[in-house]
Subunit: 891 residues, 2 copies
């Protein structure tokens, strides 16, 4: 017979601390504490398996399970020497949920169960505390009425407040017994009115109702939402804990509290928490009375305080992690009601992990697993001073972390202009590649319409610029340079502060604190990660400033330098446009010659900054029309000019320009004339770029630095594309080297960013010396999701449970991942030592980094500010593999 | 030692007829004829392998090969009892190319080689024919000078014409010997002037030059172009045939001719050809003298004629195919110079194949392989009367076959208007989905800008409407309704004729001939194909008319009905637009209710037409903005209105519309909100469509017909998408059936048209009852090629040799094909009997059909007019598998 119910009490528990799958976190903690001899009220846990059968069985429990519950209840009555419904020693119990992963506040709890008109009197006479008994009873009816009978809480509150007022009571504890009795009476009348039935008097019926309600709460909307948000599986189910009540509301020697063994905000090793005397658990949270700092307990009840410190110290040593605990003192006697690993900030997580290694409490491998990589974000960017008073204007999506203040501007040109004197925040409906010069000089970007994967967001993350997108309550009038939100109107020059890690927007300047990645606990912690990880970590960086940041954060090379970002710069764009509008190769070459020194200087800067480390440079990738004015804008300008009978010559020139833009127009630019297709149509562009790279490499090498260029050809689908482009690379390299009398070692490889490239990777690897998976584009074509358009669809899909996560944020292992694996296997079949990396946004996502480690990539490349995250995720991947006994295995 | 040179002569040849790889077509034919004892001048073939070594060796032959040539030349001198350069019995030879596949006129030929100032005299005295000797000599210098020495032909022609004129000669044969000698003298002077060297006198030097030139001609631009066009591999190389000359220009008992054993145009079994007396080969082709029909030979030289008939009959029986032969008569003696399988029209190919089966000359399997599937096209559409005189206006790409005449119109609305009275040809720069109503009523479509895979071309092929695209010499002024080409101007109402199978555009009305697929040789031939093929053949058809055509052409079901084509119809589009512009689900449902009867009627028509056969209906697929006015057009209208200070209310309304269109605007619509993503956002659309389908099915079934609906969910990438949509299908079906008291059998399946769907096909097959590969879209995302944009890139890639063929026309086996195979294997792993088809444009492409057969698909679906092509291609795939001994094997 399967065991469904686990008893704990009398110093022994049937369950254990490692049975979280079966008992849930709370149940496992109670069992563990009981076995450890700690003062835990006895009770039993109905396992998570029952939750599944409950749903399979149309919301009922089988007789077999009911029998096990009854048996456990009997044992509980025996151990507690009380009896459910007894008129002398009535047993009262709490009924609480408890899933494997903590879901604070998401599911239901019922306290004081077992009370009715007779047992309340027994409780009263047994404790000699009439007030306490009736207070417990009214609490019970209220909770049960709300949770089990689903009567809105407000209806109870109204009765309570009404009677309290009538009794002229200031505090809840001031309400006299008679009034409490009146409350009970009126509560019961309310129940009768709402449910057309009497409030259940039979404690066994009460218990069944409560257990069913807790199981039922697993699927309430907020629980479902929480699980989606936190990626907790729907199939886990919750356990139910039925436990003998202890009472913190029995008078001035009773109380209740919650606490942490270390500071969850800073990580400092200090006892941390709050408590209330003469109260039940929910009072601490509800905020009706202000709780006291836990240190005060030492003054109020020094014995209890000492005992609590001893117990919690022991718990921390036992669990080898910072504990979050709940306790109740019933008439000077301390009871532990819960212990679990405490949630903490990134800063605290790092400090605690580092401290515990020093304290020899945990190994460095364990320490590495104690920090969520994404939490590191909080430590890398300046953060808002938590002490500052700030007025929140709006909330958007946290597109790129950081905390910055700046004066708002409404166009890229204004940004450049104003940035000469001030820090600016660029406010736009949405950004376009043309805005790059404005984005470059801004400290923050606030595009009101875009999503997390929009151009603005990607570029901002790439540049490490703080960015909040999609703050939809904000209306932007770019023409009149006005930002409106609610009844507020902000104009150019007004200050705002963005918090990129939360998506919050504040009015005015909010003070910030700087982060330093190379000192203290953080540096120590990252050194542990670096020792363990197998994957190399590079950064995506286009300009020396980014490269410098990347290096500071521990990047071991540049995995993606997007040369087009150099083309968008203000001093070059006119030349780029002329080049595109050229009619002949000769004309095109002339303009390319003008661009050459710019590009060369860019590369020189990068090479110097990355001395000794590899720099992967991708040749021109975006469709050329991105560099030209927008087609529809030209059409509108032209229509306006024509309608107004404008200057004939101006019209003619605009027509000519429009004609060229029309010729380059594409219906699906993502699938059009871009990537190496450009270099094949216009080999002279590839030539110029290669010349710039090699001339820069030669120059910087002559300065005594070590230069390792890796030329990357984008968007290859047919091996011959790569062959043709590589021929140009090699030809230009030879030419530059022979003129300079110097040779620089270099490699030529390709992005694998279209499904066909993965499928024929064996053929491509005949020419490619390295692969870099462009998982952004690969995700686009594998799913048929345009990043620019599919944001809404993906959000809709996630909310409907069709997708578990955004495949642009977390690499889709089943689909895109399978193509990545195929590409690796085929590529290495041809060229066993092929160097393979990834340079999509996924390179900075922990789950994706884990996948990259599993499938045997050599490195990941991500935006500079995500480098530490990737370093930690890569280390965790190794530790996870070790601990699952699959060391060295590639999936 | 490898054998490079194969001798033939004296009744025996070293080579054989089946050695085309080594000897080329001509060489193999000469060897075979020699072995068969036919009168063939002796000679030798330098193998195609030499061609490869020639290029590997920088355009030279190795001493080893040269030695084999010398040895063969020695044997030739022995057998012919003549000697190269001999002053008594000089050997003269022809040097001709001959690749494995005939490339008529693409490579070079030299006749009369071996002549010089001494041998010409020997020839003269030996033949007693001074004129013949000098005529041969001047021909030789001219050909050699042109082909080997690369002096332009015109320079020789000028000298020839000048002397001819001076001699007052009417015909070439009238030119006196002295004049021929003068020509020779002046030719040599020309050579000296151009090459700064004397014309080579040494016959061995001549021979080497000629052989080198012929090998060199393998890579002349026209040969390369021809191979690309006809998909002949670059690596095959050509052989060179050196053969003792026989002379058709030795007087009135000499002559030369070409012929076919059956009529290559009609297939009739009749002796067919032309000849000229006293002439050399090139005279017949050059058209200076008009050749005589070959029947005349019976009158002129009855013995030769009889011998020729006997020989060619024998050759046809021997080769078991219609022969294309060349012969020369030298002083009453007949020589065979070439025989090969003759090229023929589609009509002839079918008739000859059917006849030869009846004659028991070939098996039906062989007969099936004798017709190029694409040739059937010529038999299915009306064709231009070959006898008609037609004035070609322009030439574009053959987008959709047929031959039609119509009055030109320049807009879809004009088409609808004018089509009430006349046949119209819709002329546009490019078509958009909005034009569908105009396209529907047109007999032909002429979009000047589009490519072969453009919207216009796809729709035209789908509808079986004749279409010529990309005729770039045509300029279209849609506003003024004027078409210009060269100095011609055509206006609305002028007549043009399109020939869709060649892409030609003619002025005026050119008479046509109708095709009938269900009688005569064609029907008989197709019956043979149907007996052999394994693949089912369905058609893509959206309306009853197309379904009717499809059935007539042998379709066994509809593999793709695109329901959106019904949405574009003129009487529905306004309702569709209102539905899209709705703000609430209720409003949307209201407009959907209006559309329901239309859709139901559509399906009723289809089900009636396809009684007993399956009909696969795809739910709405395109992005909704395709149904709305174009964004940029609205912007321009609005700008114009504003600039002109237009009506305020009108501006407001346009702004509102633009706002909605903006909201639906996508940067890459191909990767946006389309396919099942629509049905998931707006389940009510799927619901309406399913209701229309099942209500129609119930109704038609009650009429006593058999209805087999297959509901197809487009663009699935995640299994849950399909589950959600299938739930709607099943729910609506149950509802309709229970109301009607009738059940209709149906299936629900999905398109596999994105890479991820192939990769997770095992998961999708858990829900899908059938798969249909949408290889158009799959090709788009696998390659990252937008069909709308990549036409130019693909053309460029093909011309540069980066791609071998257009992957939208011929399924890319390495890439897309690998994903198709993966999808099949994974799908069948989950559901072994999963029905799988293909419904992209590839379903009508023979090479793609072969692939579909190999990988084990159940059926292909193509446009109605391509059904016979697919039927034949499917049969050929089976025969090919049988003959390669791989029966039943799936690749």
């Amino acid at each position: 017979m399967q065991k469904y119910v686990y008893f704990f009490g009398g110093g022994k528990a049937e369950g254990k601390g490692d049975m979280k799958d079966t008992l849930g976190g709370k149940g496992a903690g109670l069992a563990e504490m009981t076995n450890a001899g700690l003062p835990v009220p006895p009770g039993f846990t109905i396992s998570t398996d029952v939750c599944k059968t409950f749903y399979d069985n149309n919301g009922k429990l089988s007789p077999e399970i009911q029998a096990q519950i009854d048996e456990a209840l009997g044992r509980l009555e025996g151990v507690s020497e009380q009896k459910l419904g007894s008129t002398e020693h009535p047993l009262l119990v709490s009924v609480r949920s408890g899933a494997k992963f903590s879901m604070p506040g998401m599911m239901d709890t019922i306290l004081n169960l077992g009370l009715n008109e007779t047992t309340v009197k027994a409780l009263s006479s047994r404790t000699g505390n009439d007030r306490f008994a009736w207070d417990s009873y009214r609490r019970f009816i209220q909770m049960y009425g709300n949770v089990v009978l689903q009567i809105e809480k407000q209806a109870f509150d109204e009765i309570f407040d009404n009677v309290k007022e009538k009794a002229h009571a200031k505090l809840d504890t001031d309400i006299p017994v008679a009034s409490l009795q009146e409350i009970v009476k009126r509560y019961k009348a309310l129940v009768k009115e709402k449910t057309k039935a009497d409030f259940p008097d039979d404690p066994r019926q009460q218990l069944q109702g409560a257990v069913y309600a807790v199981f039922g709460s697993w699927n309430n909307p907020r629980a479902i939402h929480y699980r989606r948000m936190n990626k907790i599986s729907e199939s886990l189910g919750t356990a139910v804990n039925v436990q003998a009540m202890v009472f913190g509301n029995m008078g001035d020697t009773s109380g209740t509290g919650v606490g942490f063994t270390r500071n969850p905000s800073t990580g400092e090793k200090e006892f941390y928490g709050e408590f209330l005397m003469n109260a039940q658990g929910e009072d601490v949270v509800a905020g009706i009375r202000t709780p006291l700092p836990i240190g005060e307990l030492n003054r109020v009840m020094p014995d209890c305080y000492k005992q609590l410190r001893e117990i919690t110290d022991r718990l921390e040593r036992h669990y080898r992690d910072m504990q979050d605990f709940e306790f109740t003192i019933q008439e000077t006697r301390l009871y532990m009601l819960q212990t679990r690993n405490g949630k903490r900030t990134g800063k605290a997580a790092v400090k605690i992990a580092a401290d515990m290694v020093r304290e020899k409490l945990i190994s460095s491998d364990e320490a590495l697993m104690r920090v969520e990589p994404s939490q590191l974000d909080q430590l890398l960017h300046p953060i808002l001073d938590p002490k500052a008073q700030a007025k929140e204007l709006a909330k958007g999506l946290p597109a790129s972390p950081g905390a910055v203040s700046g004066m708002i501007v409404f166009s890229a040109n204004d940004a450049v202009e104003k940035a000469k004197k001030n820090r600016v925040v660029l406010v736009r409906k949405e950004t376009v590649p043309d805005d790059i010069h404005g984005m470059e000089v801004a400290v923050g970007i606030l595009p009101s319409r875009c999503g997390m994967t929009s151009h603005a967001a990607v570029v901002a993350r790439g540049m490490g610029i703080c960015c909040v997108v999609g703050a939809e309550s904000i209306t932007i009038d770019e023409k009149n340079k006005v930002l409106r939100v609610g009844d507020k109107t902000l104009r150019e020059g007004d200050w705002v502060t963005l918090e990129g890690s939360t998506g919050r927007v504040f009015e005015g300047q909010v003070p910030t604190i700087e982060a330093d990645p190379n000192s203290g606990d953080f540096a120590e912690f990252m050194a542990m990660a670096d020792k363990v990880r197998r994957l190399g970590i590079r950064a995506n960086a286009d300009i020396p400033r980014d490269a410098q940041v990347a290096r500071k954060f521990g990047a071991e090379g540049i995995g993606l330098c997007r040369t087009e970002h150099m083309f968008f710069a203000k001093d070059r764009l006119p030349h780029v446009q002329k080049m595109i509008l050229s009619n002949t190769e000769a004309e095109r070459r002339q303009h390319l010659d003008t661009l050459l020194p710019f590009q060369r200087a860019d590369f020189e800067g990068l090479f110097r900054e990355m001395d000794g480390l590899p720099v992967t440079i991708r040749l021109l990738d975006p469709p050329l029309h991105e560099f030209l004015p927008k087609r529809e804008e030209l059409m509108v300008e032209l229509a306006t000019l024509r309608a107004k009978g404008g200057d004939k010559k101006e019209i003619e020139e605009k027509e000519k320009l429009l004609h060229r833009v029309e010729a380059l127009h594409e219906i699906n630019p993502m699938l059009g004339h871009r990537g190496c297709r450009l270099g094949i149509t216009y080999p002279e562009i590839s030539e110029m770029q290669c010349r710039a790279i090699f001339e820069a490499a030669v120059k910087v090498q002559k300065e005594g630095k070590t230069v390792k260029p890796e030329i990357m050809i984008p968007l290859v689908v047919v091996p011959k594309e790569l062959q043709e482009q590589k021929a140009i690379v090699d030809r230009v390299a030879q030419d530059v080297f022979s003129k300079a009398g110097v040779k620089v070692e270099y490699m030529t490889g390709t992005m694998i960013e279209l499904p066909r490239a993965s499928v024929v990777a064996d053929q491509i690897a005949e020419t490619a010396e390295f692969f870099s998976f462009g998982t952004n584009d690969l995700t686009q074509t594998t799913f048929g999701f345009s990043r620019d358009d599919a944001g809404k669809i993906i959000a809709d899909y996630i909310s409907k449970g069709i997708l578990k996560s955004d495949p642009f944020q977390e690499l889709d292992r089943d689909g895109v991942g399978a193509l990545v694996k195929m590409g690796i296997e085929k590529g290495r079949a041809t060229r066993p030592k092929l160097k393979i990396g990834i340079c999509g946004e996924h390179g900075g996502d922990p789950s994706s980094v884990e996948f990259c480690d599993q499938v045997g990539l050599d490195y990941v490349s991500c935006s500079p500010y995500r480098v530490p995250i990737a370093r930690l995720a890569a280390a965790q991947a190794v530790v996870a593999r070790k601990s699952s006994g699959e060391r060295g295995r590639t999936v």
